[in-house]
Structure formats: C-alpha cells, structure tokens
Amino acid sequence: MSAHRIQGATGDWEVVIGLEVHAQVTSNSKLFSGSATAFGAEPNTQVSLVDAAMPGMLPVPNRECIRQAVRTGMAIDAQINTWSRFDRKNYFYADLPQGYQISQLYHPLVGEGSLTIDADEKAGIPADKVIGIERIHVEQDAGKLMHDQHPTMSYVDLNRSGVALMEIVSRPDMASPAEAGAYLAKLRSILRYVGSCDGNMDQGSMRADVNVSVRRAGEELGTRTETKNVNSVRFVMQAIEHEASRQVDVLESGGKIVQETRLFDPTTGSTRSMRSKEDAHDYRYFPDPDLLPLVLDDAFLADCRASLPELPDAKRARYVGELGLSTYNAAVLTADVETARWFEALLEQAASAQNKQPADVAKQAANWLISEFFGALNKLGKGLENSPVSHAQAAELLALIGKGTISGSIAKQVLEIMLDTGDSPAAIVEREGLKQESDTGAIEARVDEILAANADKVAQYRDGKVALFGFFVGQTMKAMQGKANPQVVNEILKAKLG
C-alpha cells in the first residue's frame, strides 16, 4: 500500500485533508420561515418578513428540514442527538439581514458518523477507507450580493436567506486529492439516495470548505488553511493539489504556513489568501433565545428511520450477491440513485416481460445498460433523466433479445431507431422486418448454397483450417441480412461441415 506523497526538494510530505460540506436541505420552505426555496426565482420573490428580519419577527423551525438532517445522519450511521439547540453566530454583512446566522455550534443535531470510500487502484486508493464524520448541524444560508447591477452600488437578493443547510464536517481523515474527491462523490451519492439534498453543485446546493495541511510522514499535524466554497469534485481535488504544493514550497523555502481562509480560482486552478486568522470575526455565539431546544421523540426517530431507502453500499452488495452482477457493474449502477432507480425499473419490467425472475435477467439488463445504452445516450448528449427511451421500452427490447426474436446486433439497430423516433421496439422490428429467422429450413437452404459456392474453403476447413468457421457464419448471416438466429446458424453449419 503506497500512501499519497508529495515529493518536495527536501523529501516527501503527507497531505492531511478535512472537508466541511454545506448541503442545501431539500424542502419546500426555509429553515425558519414558510418562504419557498426554488432555485432561479426572480430576486427577492421568495422572502418573508422573517427572512428579511423585520422588527419583531421570530423564527419557527421547519420540521421537514430537521427530519431531512436526521435521516442524513442515520444514513452515515451517526449518533442522532435527541436534544440539540440553535445558536446565533453574530456578524454584520449585507447578505445577513438578522445580523446573525442561526446555526448550531454547541449542541449539533447529528454527532459522530462515517462513510466508506471505495478502493480505486487507478486513483491511488488501494483499499476501502472509512472517513470519519464529526458532526452534522443545520443552519441558515445567507442571501446573495449582486455587484453587477449598478456602477457604484451593490444589490441584495434575499431568496436564499434562511434556506436550510446541513453542514457536514469530516474528520481530517483524507490523505490525497483522490480520497477527498471520492469522499465528496460518495457523500453526494448518499445525500441523493436519502433525498435530503439534490447535490446540484453547479447550482450551489452543495459546496465544500477544504481544510488542508501538510507534514513530514509521521509528524505532528501542520498548520491548516481553509479554502472556502469550492463547488465541484474536480475543483476540490485541484484546490487540494495546489494548496498542498504551495504549502510544501513555503515550508521548504523556510517559511511558515499562516492559518487563514483562502479562495479557489477555478480559471487558474489555484488558491489565494482571503483573510488571515488575525482578521477573523469574533462571532459571539450564544444560544438563540427565540428558539427552544430541539427535542426529538422516539416516534419521530422511528419515522425517519423507516423512511430511509436502501443506501448505495447495501444496494451494491445486493446487486453482486443476489443479482450476480460483477463488482464493476454493480458499482456503476449504484453510484447514483437515479441510475439505480432506472436499472431497477428496467429489471422489473424486463423480468415480467419474459416471465422470469429479476435475477435471471439482471446480467443481461446490466450489460446492455452499461455497454449499449449509456454509450448511445452519451452520443446524443443525453442522460437517463432525459432519455428518449423509457425503461418500459428498454425492457421490451431486452425481452425481444431474450426470446430470440432479434439478435444482439439487430438490437443495436433497433435501439438507434428507438432513440431517433421514440417508437416501441416491437413496432420497429415489425415495420423494418428485422425479425430474426430461426426457421431451420430457410437457413439450411442458404447454408447449402454457400457451401456449394465455396467448395475450396469447405475442403480447407475439413483439412483442419477450423478458423474458416467464422467465414461461413459471416456469409450465412450476410445472406440472411443479419436476421438469422446465430445459434441456429452455428448448429446447422457444424452439422453440415461435419
């Protein structure tokens, strides 16, 4: 097992990484008000009196946001704190109407948990690795400043003000950009399975603060920097790459790392200083006196637990164990909840169309989905979410293959037409006359013609040049316009060639 190392001029360095992920909770309304939370609305159209912090307004916790955070905690096997409390984080900024953010410093809703990142030799992750998660707390998002609306003034959009966020704080358990990337991708996968966050990093529903430090192997932790608001897996990996090398350069040239907040610039892939610890705010955290402690009862917890779906690790194990899929295929199909859902719908319909058990068609369905369908969609620049072919139509296509009505190669043609027209595969097969010929008589007649026309090759075959078998198959299929059942062709040829 080779750990990730940065080769400096003076020797090797280890990287230590922790992530604080801010994930927007999926809910119709904000954490403490009834305002809507839809992305992309006109500025200041989703703002209540509470969100604008009008005089005398009070926060009322939204139970759905709490429920989502608890379910998320359960999905990472975390301690759920049945008694938690909201604190105020005080600072002045124009995007923060109350002059404080309601968060949870002292008593977070969710305590210690973990998730496992999967071995990936190519990425330099030799074995599965458990990454500790210290806590999840819920807090309000701030509004947004718009600096491009007026030559001298900034405008404020409060649509995001008060939207519920989960802050998911990892332990400093990651040792390479790849591990951090895998952690973020796995966390995103779990959140999407649970349905507590849509994981749309490009819309800002998920963003990470990246804590990085470097040290000589086996030495004490170095001073860390925090790079704020990095909004994709790739950028997180780039930010770590850059930040770790920068720190090594500083240390090797005799400098010291300053504990500071940094910004990531996606255009250059580098980080730059935003503010140092000396300029850090004193947030004057204290329990929010407008809110009672949050106490969760057993019925609420039971409801949260009962509503949890099968999670990616369990699903992958089941695909391998019960459906007999390869580890690779199972991993591909379970990485994202929408893919898994699509696969399972396809599987169910394909099985029932063929009167079989799902396990009997699972391999066929998985192989087709991964090696045929994904590629075809990709060529069209589409994904499962906007696929022109429904899982019902795909199941029908699989059934046509399974029943021997069409061959695998004809199925490719059929799929092309399905993607093009949206028609059902049976109709296409009928219309285009693509039905596979399994009639022995018709095939035999063609085989006889071919053997007669190629007497020399038949002789060579019989003399031991068995590789010519493929030639005869090809000729037969060609004569049958590709519609002959390959198995039947094989059998007849074998019989006739002796």
Partner: protein, 494 residues
Amino acid sequence: MTDITELGVAAIRDGVAGGTFSAIEVAEAFNANVAAAQDALNAFIVATPEKALAAAKTTDARRAAGEPLGPMAGVPIGMKDLFATAGVQTTAASHILEGFVPQYESTVSQKLWDAGAGMLGKLNLDQFAMGSSNETSHFGNVISPWKRPGSNAQLAPGGSSGGSSAAIAARLAPAATGTDTGGSIRQPAAFTGISGIKPTYGRCSRWGVVAFASSLDQAGAMARDVTDCAIMLEAMAGFDPKDSTSLDLPVPAWTAGLSANMKGKTVGIPKEYRVDGMPPEIDAIWEQGIAWLKDAGANVVEVSLPHTRYALPTYYIIAPAEASSNLARYDGVRYGLRDLPDGANLQDMYAATRAAGFGAEVKRRIMIGTYVLSAGFYDAYYTQAQKVRTLISQDFAKAFEQVDVLLTPTAPSAAFALGENVDDPLAMYLNDVFTVPASLAGLPAMSVPAGLDAQGLPLGLQIIGRPLDEQGVLNAGLAIERRAGFTAKPEKWW
C-alpha cells in the same frame, strides 16, 4: 353625567353594551384627553384618533345589529410603541426606526382589536424598552402626571412602559399594553398608582413585538384596577404558532375566576428583599400589605430566596447580551434610518447609521452585551449568568413548595424626578431590584397600588406567582386592592 374618562375597562365595556353611552362617545372623550395632554405629558409618539373612532363605529354598529360584542368592545386603549401596528409608525422610541411603518400587526395587538378594542395611539417608552424612567426615548421624556406637593419638578412615570402608565394615570386611556423585560410594566404601574400584570413567560406572543431581550420580554396589561387587567390580559394571551416560545395552553378565564378571598392561601415574604437602605415608607407599605392579606384570610410566612442579590447583575448580563444580537438587524440596509456618508463603504454605513440611530442607553447595553459574549469573556459572564439564572428559578420553585404567592414592594422608592438618576446608570438599574428576579424566572407578577408616601406619591406592592398561576396573582392583587381602597389620582395640571 359621569366623566367617561374616569371609567375603567369593565365599566366602559358594560356601559357601551348596555347603551348608557356609545362607543363613539367613549372614543371621542379619550381622543380629546389625549390631544389636550400631549404637549404636557408627551405620553404618545403618534395619536391615532381615527383608529379609535373606527373601532368604536364598528362596535356601535355591531351592537345596533344585535351582534355579539367582544370582551374589550368599545374600549379604546393605548398601544406601547414596541408593538408593530400595520400602517401606523412603529419606532420602539428610536431614531433608527423613525418613520418605519410595518405592513404587519403584532399578534397581541391583533387579538385586542379582535376583542373589540380600538387604538388611541402609539405610546412613548424608553428606547427599545431600555430604561426605568422613560428618559431614553428619542421622542422626548414622558412626564408623569403626578407632582410632589409644592414642587414643579417633573417626575418619572417609570419605564420602560412610561407612556402607558402616564396615559392611564392621567385618564388619557383606560388601559394600555405594556411589555416587561425586567420590570417595565410593574415599576411604572407602581410609580403612577395603577395596576399592571406581566404574565408567565410565553403566555403572550412576542410575534410583532420589537425585541429587547427575547428570553425575558413579555407583554402584559396595564389598567386602573385588577379586574381590568384580568379582562385585558385574557384578550391578549394565547398560543401563537408564530412564536416558538409561546405556551401551547388554553387561556384560563381569569376574570371569571377573580376572588379576593385568601383563605387557605399562604403568602411568602422573601427576607432577602429587605434590602439595606430601603426607605421606611416602603417597609411600612409592605407591612401594610402583609396585614391586608392576613385580613383576607391568608397565612403569611417568611421565605428565603438566597440568590436574590445576584439577580440584578445576572439580568444586566443576559438582557444586554440578547439585546446586542437582537438589535443587529437595525443596520440601515432594509428599513429605518440609513446614514450613508459620501464615499462610505458598507462598514462605514453601519457605523454611521447605528451611531446616529441609537441613543446612549441603547449603545451602552449593546456594548455591554457585545463584551459579555466575546471570546474569552463568554464563560465568565454569559455562561455564569445562565447558571445563576437557573439558581434563581430554583429558589422560587423551592419557595412555591411552601407558599402560593410572594409579596414584595414593587420598587425601592416612589417616583423620582426626571434627571435625578439619568447620569448614574447603576442607580437607575437598582430600580429594578425587586422586579428582575421574577423576570429571570419567567414568573407571573403584578403591581397594584397600595398607598401614597409622605409626599403624596403612589407606592405599589408586587405579587409574584407560580408559573401559569396568573389567577393566584390577580386574586392576591384583588385582595390588596379591596383593602387599600386606592382612589388617589394626580391633580390635573396639564
């Protein structure tokens, strides 16, 4: 014909319902008193005679149509300018909110309008309810209608609900809302010879009330007698899902439950309230109160509330801490005052706006609150204060194992002259020494007028009850009221 403005809530309501006079007549009479006294007493920041008349008109119309009338129907009241009133300027007596007109109505004021009350205007107060003399208002001092005999010195109406107390004592309103954070209903009631009750924390919704210290702020009723307080509080109280700290309990029928009979009740006299240097007159009125309650059938015992001496310092850590955060929203960005000097950046705007918009006492408390919450001091001040607050609550809980209500003086003195304490914040803060402990414990407490001091100024007695036992408090208050026979009123000089 009797002067309508000499009547209280119950008498006005019953008079209107019975047709003795119309609600319009009532509103006109009080509107006239409000207008006539404004220059002298400065009790109102904004008068809203049209609101009082409109409500009266509705009541008269309902009565004419034979429709049922609410428990406050026909009663015009004053609204402390800490309650948001839709379409009517709401300032908390601050410059920073001057001109702010909310689009929303506080839950408490809405309940009162729903009960048939009308609004005479928005009452002056100490700025953001911070003060004990009504000298911190941006809109000028409220002047008490009371005077010392032979003196022209202007007296304090108490604070922070000083506009409310002055208006009721001067017959500008039969009743008014107050809010009480550390004594802001009870002390002004005592200073002006009226009654005022602060219910259990959570009884009245805080939604739409400009916040001072959220864990202490509680709205209550101020009126001329105990019955009127009961009627009004009943109309104000009730669960509000918009306030997470609101109590989800039905409102008891306090008015129907009123009884001055104290037989079988035990009254506790907390010995720690006998503070050094307390004027003999205060001690005497306290002894008188004890005698009255004994006369009403109560058993009186001495109790100990050992942490009483820490209540004031605890209060002056917790209340400013919460205030420093609650008042952060007044930043010039969205509403209220904005001071934007030439070339100012965001930080400059905050500083200029808040420097210009907040008065000295508000700034002082923001500074104290910011200090006690800051890194390195938080545990020594705020955490410690919270622990002491718990101990103070436990003192009360222990006492209430033994007694039904506690009797204390409301304030350590009668009304002082304006300007007397204004340069000495500590002396001013000491005014709250008897009222603050019940606030810290969230207990119901009221002040009732008990007599006059040698200078002819009113003195009040405070009754503190168990959590949710407003009835016990009101009943003890009624027992004292019956025996005190307090009828004194300020001689009209305005």
